[in-house]
């Protein structure tokens, strides 16, 4: 469609359609724009290695990383490592989220629970999560359980803090509307408090997931025979920077993808929000 046609059709059903195309373009452009910087970096890096400006032994160029990754894929090892790490993060995230949600909602709603529990939880929060590692190893051994526990600890705190804080910050006036309409405690929690606290809760889940990816590396450094963290250790032992870099890039890509997925779901759930949008956004 030409520019003139677009303008002329503005009084008919056209604008919608045009807006639809614009929206589709927008949808594709947005994620694509995020890839510009990494792509430019990769090209520069490759060119630099080609020209001998970068020492390919210490910083192997993208082509070598791709080759190594392809080899790992072919042997089925890439999938195995990604699945191992992904499973640990998923399990740790699940348990951390469940505990954070239950405890956060409890202290967020019941004042007594808040006074009894919250100070202790806050005190535990100031313990560096890695400090638990020796204890977990003694308790659960060096296998999966202690790894999942460590990740769950990392996920728990942001989920707990954000949910309890968000529930505490819910406008008393909205809760009163629930009371006016004769809603029970349980109904008020479900129909007023939880939806009102949802933005804070989702932020908690998102930062919890981020921490889950941080802690999986620590957990896999504890000793693992598979996983992206294992690849890192393995690459160091074997003196293979390519393996290390492949694992790092995989962390970046997978971590960002899961975060993006949560962000998309959040935006969908929070489309009612009247929030500030940076200029130039749709």
């Amino acid at each position: 469609m030409s520019q003139a046609e677009l303008l002329l059709s503005e009084s008919g059903p056209g604008p919608r359609r045009a807006a639809g195309f614009a929206l589709l373009g927008e949808r594709l452009w947005r994620p694509a724009s995020a890839l510009l910087l990494p792509l430019a970096g990769a090209i520069g890096w490759e060119a630099g290695a080609e020209q001998g400006l970068i020492d390919a032994h210490l910083l192997p160029p993208p082509s070598q990383l791709l080759a190594t990754f392809a080899a790992l894929l072919a042997k089925g090892e890439a999938v195995q490592h990604i699945a191992a790490t992904g499973q640990r993060v998923a399990l740790g995230f699940f348990f951390g989220m469940a505990a954070g949600t239950v405890l956060g909602a409890t202290t967020g709603y019941f004042d007594l629970a808040r006074r009894l529990l919250d100070p202790s939880v806050q005190a535990l929060r100031s313990v560096p999560p890695l400090a638990w590692v020796p204890l977990f190893i003694l308790w659960f051994g060096i296998f999966e359980t202690s790894k999942v526990m460590l990740i769950a600890v990392g996920v728990f705190f942001p989920v707990y803090l954000n949910l309890a804080g968000a529930m505490h910050g819910v406008d008393r006036k909205l809760v009163e509307v629930g009371r006016v309409h004769g809603l029970s405690h349980a109904r008020i929690i479900r129909r007023v408090l939880l939806p009102a606290a949802l933005p804070g809760y989702l932020i908690g889940l998102r930062s919890g997931l981020g921490l889950g990816w941080m802690f999986v590396v620590a957990a896999e450094f504890m000793g693992a025979s598979e996983g992206l963290g294992f690849l890192l250790v393995d690459g160091q032992m074997m003196g293979r920077p390519t393996t290390i870099l492949v694992a790092i890039v995989l962390f970046a890509v997978i971590g960002k993808s899961t975060d993006f997925a949560v962000a998309i779901v959040s935006a969908r759930l929070l489309r009612w929000q009247d929030a500030f949008k940076p200029s130039g956004s749709a």
Partner: protein
């Protein structure tokens, strides 16, 4: 009939917000309450709504004491208090949680039509102007067909044009099924234009200082001599009512 029988409210901090208020509002009557800020108007309304328990005395609706919030009494606050995560229609439906879906849908459509927002059923609250949001709040209060509708300075945050518009609208809604209505306002014109009676409240402690009956048919000409005269009388009363009560009403102590 809505009855307040020597109702008093002392808050936990010892502040006596309402002292010995007695009042009878006939069925379908529209009573306006004016008074300086902090004189206990909102507290009085919250006592009627069952949101606060009186420290002494009793509030009765149709002879039954009010023990807590009930679907027979609707309330509209100064702010619309819409749930931002619910569409306009779902906000109105909020008041109908217990009803079967189809019946609730019908009631929601009907009341949205009456407040002139049927086209906005699917809109988010953030997409509404202040006046529209307040009409949704009124619709939410009316959808349960309450016997009594309480309004706490419902139009005070709106601009003058919107306010006039909503005042007319409120009368039209009231005419539809004639709930008993108590309207708290700090706008004396609004009180005289809408009320069958205007009560002037005084503060420290909050009490009903005087009342004025307005018999003129609605809509009322705001420039008519009788209107202006009523306004002058109420202004005088407000001035007098501002002085602290010398002593609590006779034979009364809490």
């Amino acid at each position: 009939m809505l009855e307040l029988d020597l109702v008093a409210k002392r808050f936990a901090n010892g502040h006596l917000a309402v002292a010995a208020a007695s009042l009878v509002v006939r069925e379908s009557e529209l009573v306006a309450i004016v008074g300086g800020s902090g004189c206990g108007k909102s507290t009085l309304l919250r006592l009627i709504a069952g949101l606060e328990r009186p420290s002494a005395g009793q509030v009765r609706l149709a002879g039954r004491p009010i023990e807590g919030p009930s679907p027979e009494i609707g309330i509209v606050f100064q702010e619309p208090r819409l749930m931002p995560w619910l569409s306009v229609a779902d906000n109105v439906r909020f008041g109908l949680a217990a009803r079967p879906r189809i019946e609730a849908d019908k009631a929601v459509r009907e009341v949205l039509r009456r407040v002139g927002l049927e086209d906005f059923a699917k809109a988010w609250p953030r997409e509404l102007s202040g006046g529209m949001a307040q009409r949704v709040a009124i619709a939410r209060a009316l959808v349960t067909r309450p016997k009594a509708l309480l309004l706490d300075e419902p139009f005070s945050a709106l601009d003058a044009f919107t306010r006039l518009d909503l005042q007319d609208h409120l009368i039209a809604l009231w005419n539809h099924d004639r709930p008993t209505m108590v309207l708290v306002t700090h706008d004396i014109d609004e009180a005289i234009a809408l009320g069958d009676r205007v009560l002037v409240m005084g503060g420290r402690p909050g009490r009903i200082y005087r009342e004025l009956s307005i018999a003129a048919p609605r809509p009322r000409d705001r420039t008519a001599p009788a209107f202006v005269q009523a306004k002058r009388a109420i202004l005088d009363d407000l001035r007098l009512a501002r002085r602290p009560a010398a002593e609590p009403a006779d034979g009364y102590a809490i």
